[in-house]
């Protein structure tokens, strides 16, 4: 944006109406629990001429986190990739393949050295010299090592990148319980395997769409991470348990529980705790932000929370000595 161009002219040139842009800023400010004045501040800060470069690396992943981002309502993925940031490398969405794709990554790194945002989904395998996952003939660890050097900020999207996730889940009969030596970005950073940069963990399997986009939007507006907890999670989204935000908590307090997934009590929206809901031990924003354009969240549809944003959610029922499972990780073995 040139100095003599008004903000409105700038948006018009981009094909964005001021109204829709302000609506996005207001929604984002609300989701992040920012004061009312912040929407205007967001709008002003987002009106920069050069869109921040984002490099997105996918490692041991299932692409669910990318898919989740495309389901975001505010901001939308098209607003992000066309209007607010420059998504310079992203396997699922980018046009170029092969060497042309790798060149795009190197070009973006060179042009934005020290200022680009690095997003990672999937864990990073470290066993057996890294052969469990390669891209362009290079191990994931090597690609991460190289790419994180010039990053201003790293966002680990999804439970795999944030905590190791399913590749790191217990394989009790394998020689190594974590077969591929799957590591999270934070573990590699803390171990000195990669350089240290500001890291935001956005766990969830996948994370709520608007939590991914809202975290990115906060960075776009303020150039920093939102306030983080001791697990590097944004407090606005992960500050309270799912249970505390659940509209069914009143039934819980009244001792009103569903005994089956389709009984009359379930039809009345009674609490799912006896059917295995992990809401009390899970920090996430599902009941408040809600999934898929504010449509629903697990308990609202009738299945308890799996606890998918927590580090050990796959291994809740793992015996202390790691030898096997003491029962189901999700369902109590006793009939309600």
């Amino acid at each position: 944006m040139s100095h003599d161009e008004t903000f409105t002219e700038f948006l018009t040139r981009r094909g964005v109406s001021r109204r829709s842009f302000l609506a996005f800023c207001t929604a984002t400010a609300a989701a992040l629990a920012l004061p009312a004045a912040a929407a205007r501040e967001l709008a002003a800060n987002l009106a920069v001429a050069r869109r921040p470069s984002v490099i997105w690396l996918s490692f041991q992943e299932c692409t669910g986190c990318t898919e989740s981002l495309t389901r975001s309502g505010e901001p939308t993925v098209e607003a992000l990739i066309l209007d607010h940031l420059s998504l310079d490398y992203h396997h699922t969405l980018q046009a170029a393949s092969g060497e042309a794709a790798e060149q795009a990554r190197r070009d973006a790194m060179a042009a934005n050295w020290g200022s680009y945002v690095l997003v990672v989904d999937g864990s990073i395998p470290t066993a057996d010299g890294g052969v469990w996952s390669t891209i362009a003939g290079v191990t994931n660890l090597e690609m991460l090592r190289e790419t994180i050097e010039g990053a201003a900020l790293v966002i680990a999207v999804g439970t795999c990148a944030a905590f190791g996730g399913i590749p790191a889940a217990a394989a009790v009969t394998a020689p190594n319980i974590n077969q591929s030596g799957a590591r999270s970005v934070g573990e590699l950073m803390d171990a000195g395997e990669i350089v240290t940069r500001t890291l935001i963990n956005v766990p969830g399997c996948p994370p709520v769409p608007d939590v991914i986009s809202g975290t990115i939007a906060y960075f776009l507006a303020y150039g920093t991470a939102p306030e983080l907890d001791d697990q590097r999670r944004p407090i606005p989204y992960y500050g309270t348990t799912v249970h505390e935000q659940c509209p069914r908590i009143w039934h819980y307090r009244n001792g009103e529980f569903a005994f089956a997934f389709d009984d009359e009590r379930a039809q009345q929206g009674y609490c799912l705790y006896l059917l295995g809901c992990k809401g009390p031990e899970t920090r996430n924003a599902c009941p408040r932000v809600r999934w898929n354009l504010n449509t629903s969240f697990p308990m609202h549809s009738g299945h308890g929370c799996l606890g998918c944003s927590e580090a050990a959610f796959w291994d809740r029922a793992l015996a202390v000595d790691g030898s096997g499972f003491t029962g189901s990780c999700f369902y109590p073995d006793v009939r309600p």
């Binding site: 989740s68 010299g129 009790v172 996948p206």
Partner: protein, 574 residues
């Protein structure tokens, strides 16, 4: 001879590498390599069978839910566990919504840029684009001012000099044949489809709480229907929303997806003569009708079977439990078999021991005559099979499904192409579009059945009589089938002492993307690439067209299981 390497293959799910040897610019030999392994089946061993769906579903977040469905069906098959009709209908609606959502996103967001030159859209005349769109369909976003706005948005983006996801695309490649106006229409629909898919995904959120990775449950569907207003997602208002979403889905398919496919196909009819693959096709079948009263196979909307060598006169039966039918080879895979590298194994008896013998990273090339992939090579009675949309459309066509026959014949007539055109890259793309309509239209039937059941007082969605482990036999085994958007998928489970003793998934992209077997027979990707003329080895657009026509999903395709708990992971690096 020279070798073209494409790694990473982008606009797919997961990590795929293609190496293609060319003689005089024509591909003589190709190798398809999966380069990532997570070992999810090993993670499943020892767990409670009821937990398997949640773990297995994370095999893939694009075809999210397909592994959840195959998993709960495998457990239900093992335990002879009946589920209520409503649960079957809800699953049908969720699977079919996945098909429609996935196929449209594949066409616009993963595949389109192989056919559509985004930069060429900048020279489109918005009025001419509007005239063309109005010829194509009654879709309302068709005014000159609409296309002018889309063009302005695109030119503002490209004019910024930051090309983002469009950087380094093969724009201007002589193989791009569309007029600028059609390129602009396709870009407009790229954006519209992003918006549309968000809304479609709400169907999964209503029944399953979220998308990606909606919730399922062994024994039915984990949602209470028709309860107190506002108390649950699937109250009367939620059920009405399901109906609205189905209507919106079908309209987009009829007025955007199908017309765009036909309009684009007209310019690429030469792609109806290449990219066939192996000529054998397999389906496991999908969409049981719980109210039909027929036997298991008779209840399926998409039939189960095999077609060999394009012969549509015979559909060969498929039995998931017959140990001589479905088998996996590891002759060219980075695994060991205890009975010998070239002895194939049925999933119930399967074993996988990682044994990486490829080059030490970073590497430039893999050796096609040795092991070169983390994928195995599944075979049906020793033969490679293509699975997916083309296989399903052929199976419906061959079994005499009239709606399919009419749709296929009308499409071919409109494009002035023979039936043999189906056996090609373009045929695969067209089959995906046509089955989206077939399945989307069928959703209205299942929705009406569900409402009818509710009105007659049946609101059951879960059978909990066998949900608790003390009701189970101490050991059992079963197979769970499904059709994923990318093709036939099945999970095999062995239960001992109420825990998972063995778990195996044989996945669509393993059928399609797997390497050569012990006899040297190529997998479908490898066979389909042979004979392609590559205009510019630096810009292998032709390879992407054919590979993307299969809609690769590599996270699914690579897996690991272990039969006896004694797997020896020894990685030898050459």
């Amino acid at each position: 001879m020279s070798t073209i390497v494409v790694d990473p293959v982008t606009r797919i799910e997961g990590h795929l590498r293609i190496e293609a040897e060319t003689e005089n610019g024509i591909i003589s030999r190709a190798a398809s390599t999966g380069t990532m392994l997570r070992g999810i089946e090993n993670v499943l061993i020892g767990r409670d069978p009821r937990d398997a769906w949640a773990v297995a579903q994370r095999i893939c977040g694009v075809c999210t839910l397909v592994h959840g469905i195959a998993s709960v069906r495998a457990v239900e098959n093992a335990l002879a566990y009946p589920i209520p009709p409503n649960a079957e209908l809800i699953r049908n609606l969720m699977i079919s919504a996945q098909f429609v959502h996935d196929h449209v996103m594949h066409f616009y967001h993963l595949h389109a840029m192989d056919w559509v030159d985004v930069v060429s859209a900048l020279s489109a005349d918005p009025q001419a684009a509007a005239d063309l769109q109005q010829c194509l369909s009654p879709w309302p976003n068709s005014s000159a001012s609409y296309f002018s706005d889309v063009k302005q948005r695109l030119s503002g983006f490209i004019g910024s000099g930051q090309l983002g996801i469009f950087a380094n695309g093969y724009w201007g490649h002589p193989e791009y044949k569309l007029p600028p106006e059609l390129n602009l229409i396709a870009f407009a629909h790229y954006l519209e489809a992003l918006d549309w898919q968000r809304k479609v995904a709400r169907l999964h959120a209503l029944f399953g709480g979220k998308n990606p990775h909606p919730n399922f449950i062994v024994g039915g569907a984990p949602c209470a229907l028709g309860g107190t207003a506002g108390a649950t997602a699937v109250d009367d208002q939620g059920l009405a929303l399901v109906g609205e979403i189905i209507t919106d889905m079908r309209r987009f398919v009829d007025e955007v997806y199908i017309p765009d496919t036909l309009a684009i196909a007209r310019y690429y009819k030469d792609w109806a003569q290449r990219g066939e693959g192996v000529g054998n096709f397999m389906t496991y079948g999908e969409f049981p009708d719980p109210l039909s009263g027929a036997d298991e196979m008779g209840r399926l909307f998409i039939p189960r079977g095999v077609i060999l060598n394009r012969d549509l006169s015979t559909i060969h039966p498929v039995d998931l439990s017959d140990e001589t039918q479905i088998q996996e080879y590891v002759s060219h895979s980075w695994y060991n078999y205890s009975g010998g590298q070239d002895q194939p194994l049925h999933p119930y008896a399967g074993e996988t021991r990682p044994n990486y013998t490829g080059p030490q990273p970073p590497y430039d090339n893999l050796a096609m005559d040795q092991a070169y992939s983390w994928l195995k090579s599944p075979r049906w009675k020793g033969k490679p099979m293509e699975v997916g949309p083309l296989a399903r459309v052929l199976m419906l066509y061959a079994s005499g499904h009239e709606t399919t026959q009419t749709l296929v014949n009308e499409t071919l007539t409109e494009l002035k192409l023979p039936l043999s055109a189906l056996y090609s890259t373009l045929g695969r793309v067209a089959a995906r579009t046509l089955e989206t309509k077939l399945i989307g239209d069928q959703m209205a039937v299942w929705y009406d059945q569900l409402l009818g059941n509710l009105q007659s007082g049946d609101s059951r969605t879960h059978n909990d009589e066998l949900f608790y482990p003390d009701t189970w036999p101490s050991s059992a085994q079963g197979a769970g089938y499904t059709e994923a958007p990318r093709g036939a998928l099945a999970h095999w489970i062995v239960i001992q002492d109420r825990r998972i003793a063995n778990y195996q998934a044989v996945v669509p992209s393993t059928w399609n993307a797997g390497p050569r077997d012990a006899q040297g027979q190529e997998g479908p990707y490898e066979a389909a690439l042979k004979g392609h003329r590559i205009h510019d080895p630096q810009q292998p657009l032709e390879i992407l067209r054919t590979i993307h026509s299969f809609d690769p999903c590599l996270a699914c395709a690579v897996h690991l299981m272990d039969l006896d708990g004694g797997s020896q992971i020894r990685v030898t690096v050459s």
